[in-house]
């Protein structure tokens, strides 16, 4: 689950980068950037959840 979380963190960054590189300033880049950050929040949630489950196991 931690690996998936890390992947989502990177995926969110990739979405933000793609918006900056591929879209013009007139396009709705804000939406893509918000989507990227939301993906990262989901990734963080997964990592913290995995860590918590692991700590409980110990």
């Amino acid at each position: 689950m931690k690996a998936a979380g890390l992947f989502l963190l990177f995926a969110g960054f990739a979405i933000v980068m793609s918006a900056l590189v591929m879209l013009s300033p007139n396009a709705p880049r804000g939406l893509f950037i918000a989507a990227g950050i939301a993906t990262q929040v989901l990734g963080l949630f997964l990592i913290f959840r995995a860590h918590y489950t692991q700590s409980e196991g110990h």
């Binding site: 963190l9 933000v16 900056l20 590189v21 950037i33 913290f48 860590h51 700590s55 110990h58």
Partner: protein, 427 residues
């Protein structure tokens, strides 16, 4: 596309040099804070670790870090995408061979960075308190000073793509991070990965376990005051070198620093007073520190009232962040993750929010947050996990029970205190 480096006149150079010489006080304060929040049986180890980590970071940064970080106008590795050149990494000469120490702007940047990387390397020590081996902390700081810090600092301070987002993608003037909220967040995110990898201290989350308070709150609070002096130097020098501030704006930077830290401290004090019926010294100290961290990015471009608002929100964040991390099983004895990671991210966001006069500026700052979470955090986690595979970073159970002073150094910080003789180890 290359950014033009800042040029300072003689007066600005002299003032900037003086400010840079204040920065080591921030490291001294941070070392005291980390030590005070730890246990008494690991106090000497904590301060020695601080010195060793600082030394390791400085040496590694000298050898490779500054070459990778570079500076605006210096050679860099570029990537072509979308018809534009994205400045990814410095291409300087190793061992700072390209720097001539004659009072040039580049020499001031090299000097400031040498101190700044030490501060970033000290931050994770607080999260790994009481269970992080000396050798492992040095090795981890080498990874930070040689890889993660220079890459991100190049993006923000070295004329990299985040600093150029204005020209590249129409995002205001690109990210502005005068004193380095984002750069301090690199240290905070490394602290988070260290806390994940090391796991909690023994007894922290057992059914019969109790809270493990810091052993010397005087040390913590005095450390915070020292940090303020160091942070004044860091923010003023950073604003002169990286944010295009002039000497006439230094008073504003100093006022903003003090106001943000004060607002944050008072807010944290009130929140803990309301929640726990008495003010909590440790969270209040963290409140003071997070105020300094969160104003760093915007220190030269906001009014004192806005600085107070940034500090107020930071002071609101820190008690809940410390509590939440504790609840989800992340054992961070000094609150380093809340102060430097959360505070740093908030500082970057706040700088973008308060720079409303520049269209699209917020996008540059949110992209910086995305880079910290999506690049720096996974990279530093993988690097430290790899290090942990070859060299386990956590001390043995017996070593942790005896305390790191005894198990790693063979002698305690406070020999007058009663010790259980069987805990002594032969050297």
């Amino acid at each position: 596309m290359q950014m033009q480096p800042a040029t300072l006149n003689e007066t600005a150079t002299a003032i900037c040099t003086l400010c840079i010489f204040l920065v080591p006080l921030a490291a001294a304060g941070l070392a005291l804070v980390n030590t005070g929040f730890g246990r008494s049986r690991s106090a000497a180890h904590s301060l020695l670790s601080a010195m060793c980590v600082y030394a390791t970071a400085a040496l590694v940064y000298l050898v490779i870090g500054f070459a990778l970080q570079g500076y605006a106008g210096e050679p860099a590795h570029l990537l072509s995408a979308g018809g534009r050149q994205w400045n990814l990494l410095g291409a300087g000469r190793w061992m700072m061979r390209g720097v001539i120490f004659n009072g040039s702007t580049l020499s001031l940047v090299a000097c400031l960075q040498l101190f700044s990387v030490g501060i970033a390397a000290l931050i994770p020590l607080g999260a790994g308190s009481d269970r992080w081996k000396l050798g492992a902390s040095c090795a981890s700081s080498a990874l930070l000073a040689g890889i993660t810090y220079p890459i991100f600092a190049h993006w923000v301070w070295g004329g990299g793509w985040l600093a150029q987002l204005g020209a590249l993608a129409g995002c205001g003037t690109g990210v502005i991070d005068a004193g380095g909220s984002g750069v301090q967040a690199v240290g905070g995110l490394t602290a988070l990965t260290i806390a994940w990898i090391l796991g909690p201290r023994q007894g922290k989350y057992e059914a019969s376990g109790m809270a493990i308070p810091g052993h010397n709150m005087v040390m913590v609070l005095f450390g915070c005051l020292l940090m303020m002096v160091g942070w004044l130097g860091l923010d003023t020098a950073g604003a002169l070198l990286f944010a295009g501030a002039s000497v006439s704006s230094l008073a504003l930077i100093a006022v903003n620093n003090v106001i943000a830290a004060s607002a944050s401290l008072v807010t944290a004090l009130i929140v803990t007073r309301v929640r726990y019926s008495k003010p909590d010294a440790s969270i209040s100290a963290n409140g003071f520190a997070i105020g300094l961290v969160s104003i760093s990015a915007a220190c030269s471009m906001v009014s004192p009232a806005e600085a107070a608002a940034i500090g107020l929100v930071a002071g609101l964040i820190v008690p809940f962040s410390v509590e939440w991390l504790d609840r989800v099983g992340v054992d961070d004895p000094s609150g380093a993750i809340s102060v430097y990671a959360v505070g740093g991210l908030w500082g970057v966001f706040a700088a973008g929010t308060f720079a409303q006069d520049r269209p699209g500026q917020w996008m540059a700052h949110v992209s910086t947050i995305a880079a910290l979470l999506g690049f720096v955090l996974p990279l530093t986690y993988c690097l430290n996990l790899l290090l942990n595979t070859f060299y386990p970073q956590r001390i043995s159970k017996d070593g942790e029970r005896q305390g790191l002073d005894m198990s790693e150094l063979g002698g305690g910080a406070y020999p007058e205190l009663t010790q259980v003789t069987k805990d002594y180890l032969s050297r």
